[in-house]
Structures are given as structure tokens and as C-alpha cells.
Symmetry: C2
Subunit: 213 residues, 2 copies
Amino acid sequence: MPFTRLEIAVLGLVDGELQVLLARRAEAPHAGKWALPGGVLRIDLDASLDAAAQRVMRERLGLDLPFLRQLCAAGGPTRDPRAPWALSIVYRALVPAENVKPSAGKRIEALAWRPVGDAIADKALAFDHSQLVSQAVESTRAEVERLDLPAGFLPDQFTLGELQSTCEQLLGRRLDKSSFRRKLADREVVEPVEGLMRTGANRPAQIYRLHTR
Amino acid sequence: MPFTRLEIAVLGLVDGELQVLLARRAEAPHAGKWALPGGVLRIDLDASLDAAAQRVMRERLGLDLPFLRQLCAAGGPTRDPRAPWALSIVYRALVPAENVKPSAGKRIEALAWRPVGDAIADKALAFDHSQLVSQAVESTRAEVERLDLPAGFLPDQFTLGELQSTCEQLLGRRLDKSSFRRKLADREVVEPVEGLMRTGANRPAQIYRLHTR
DNA sequence: AGGTGTTAGTTGCAAAGTCCCACGAAGTGT
DNA sequence: ACACTTCGTGGGACTTTGCAACTAACACCT
């Protein structure tokens, strides 16, 4: 019966870059170090792992977001000095960072966005969390690559320009406009919202939403 | 502190078809029904989740195979009537079934290969195991599709014809010979063993092995 | 009003990649 | 010698991709 926790890797685009939301630990072990926000599994409260991850995110970050995906599980006797054997189920969330202002909850001293490059650097985070962030980023980029769209990053409605720019920031490289649009059309991932246009300083753009299956 | 188990989905090619190794349960609950072989996590014995999965496979099936990969975790209060909250970490193994003769170990009444199509059928297996098998098959096929080769299915040395035939059985459809070879060459996944040929009833074939990184 | 700048959206084309089919090569068995 | 099988490669049709040009529609400036 191991000590079982959930860890949440919240990814978002901040300052045009992929960043991860980190919590500074208020208590030992690793007090003062940065780590993924997380909490213990409560078998009296949680109806499933997914529900547990939702609860932890709500308690620690004040967020309630639908785009939560299980990443992996990690376990071993030396992962956490508080327990003889520690098991963590790791979840990944995607958020449109501009709209989301998480607030530090229970047992958290401070919250901050940190570029994923920094967080992945060896020993940058407490416990084995650098490695977990690395996995989260890898799987997210793979999804974007195959246009399995990370809807969490986007508002309900968006223009194709916004979508492309988001993908470019996630992948860290430029994409070709016409190829990008052709693929979207072929795979029917988005559909136009008839009559709605985004107006601004230049030519209005058609507004799209995710295709309803 | 949930009741924590490991479940192993062993996949192999038997009779030219993708099959999964199932155990008939000797005890309640679901006595007599088929399920994935598995066992409880032992924090006094296991140094990691991977090691725990290896131990369970050895104890239940008498196998000791290197190709074991974590698939997902499942948890909830109604998964297993023995515990108020049951957590399972699911692993997937790939074996060249012809060479491997698993033997029923502790608490197992009988072992049998079963085509994955049957096992996936609704309520064919105990607990939520049908769903777990479905995920195992899906992820395995995705790996083969991108030629992230499931080395567990193959001997150390093989011909390209054997490799292609293996992939075809895994995917359940025919592949084109020249495309298949071009992709292998481009991605440098295999390399020829110079001078070694497989002889038989017809033209000898070059023998290959996995490319050494 | 007319010019300029910026983004939206489409089109054309060449290069690269894939799919399908076919052909020669190299063995065995009759 | 001939049929038969699998191995290995090559060619042509077709599709996908990457790049660039072009028009369209707005705001803003002079």
C-alpha cells in the first residue's frame, strides 16, 4: 500500500513560449524548491484517477479545466523521503495561459510560470519532477505535430492565424500557411462559424471552432 | 492508500494473429472468468514499478522478458470488490509467442492465448480488463505503424521478409514491400549482418538485426 | 481621396515522398 | 530444362509538402 500522489503538469503559452506552472514548496522535504503542484489521492473523495486529478488541481491552483490527460505513473522507494515507497500518477493539463490566473492553494508558497527548457534542466526541480515535465512536453509536441489539437490552449472560437501561431509556439518552429490549412481541411478538425469574423487593424478573418464529431 | 496492483497484457503472434495471454481466475471475485495476469505491488520487494511488473510476470507466468512498457493507470472504488478503492498500473509485454511457453504460477488456474478481437469484446474479461487490452493493442499498433519496432516480437536476427510479415500480422493488413524497405532504410532502424544469409527453399535472403545506436 | 502597411486567404508549381506493379535474380524441386 | 517461390530493385502514376506569389480587405496616415 504505497503513498499515492497525483502530480499535475500544467502547460501554457506565456510570453510566446511554452511554460510550465510550478509551485514553490512551503514544507520539507525540498522546502523552497520548485516542484509540480500535486496532492495525495483521497480514496474517500475521489471516484477515479481523473476525478482525483481534477480535485487536486482545484485545491492547489483554484482551476477547473477539462483538458486533463494521464501521462504516466512513477514509483519507487527513493522518490520521496516522506514515505518508504512513493507512487505518483502524473497528469498533464493545457491552458490558454492569458485567461487563466491560478491562485496558490493549500501548502503552496508561490506559483510561477517557468519556460520548459529551464524546468527540464537537470536537477532544476524537486524530486524527479524535471523528468516528468520532460515527458509532458514531449507528448504534447507529438500531439500538435499530428494535429491532434490541444484544445485546451485555445478559446472556443479562433481564427486560423491564431491557431497556427499557437502551434508554432508549441513546437518552437515556423509552419507553412498553405500546408497547415490544407491539413486542417483534409482531416476536418475545424469548421467555420458562418458569418462570424474577427475584425481588427486589417482584413477580417473567418472565425472557426473545433469540428463537431 | 489504495489497494495497488500491476496487470500485465502479454501480446504475441499465435496462429498468424495477434493474441493476448489470459489467466483463468482460481478465486473470487470472478472465479473461473478470464482476466489479465497480475499481482499486488510489494513495497518491500519492488524497487520501481518496472521492477514490480517484472516480478509479477515472473511469479505468475514464469517469464523474464525485457520488453515491458508501462501503458496506463486505472483506479476507482468499483473496479475490484475486494477493496474499497483499487488502483492498477498496467504494463504491456511483447513476446515471440512460438518460443515462449508461459507456465501458470501462483493463484492461476490456467493460461491461454486468446485473439485480441475476442478479448476486447464487451464484458469478455473480468473487471475492466477488456478495456485495458483494447488500449494495449491500440498503442502497439500505433508503434508498428510508425516503425518504432516492437523488438520483443523478433529474434535477434531476421530477414526483411520475416519482419514485414510480422508487422502485417500485427496490423492485420498487407504492406507494400518496396515502401516498407524504403522506410526502414531512411530511418536506419535495421542493419544487414554482412555475409550472413538465410537459405531455404528459394533465393537466399540477407539477414538483418536492429540498428545499433 | 489616395497611398501604405499588415494580415487573410487562395493559387500555382516544383520537389519530395508514396503506392502499386512489374521485372530480373537466385535458389529448390520435378 | 522448366516451373515455382521468394528476394531485391526499379519505374511510373499519383499524392503530399514546401515555397512563393498574388489578390482581398481592412486601418491608418498624409
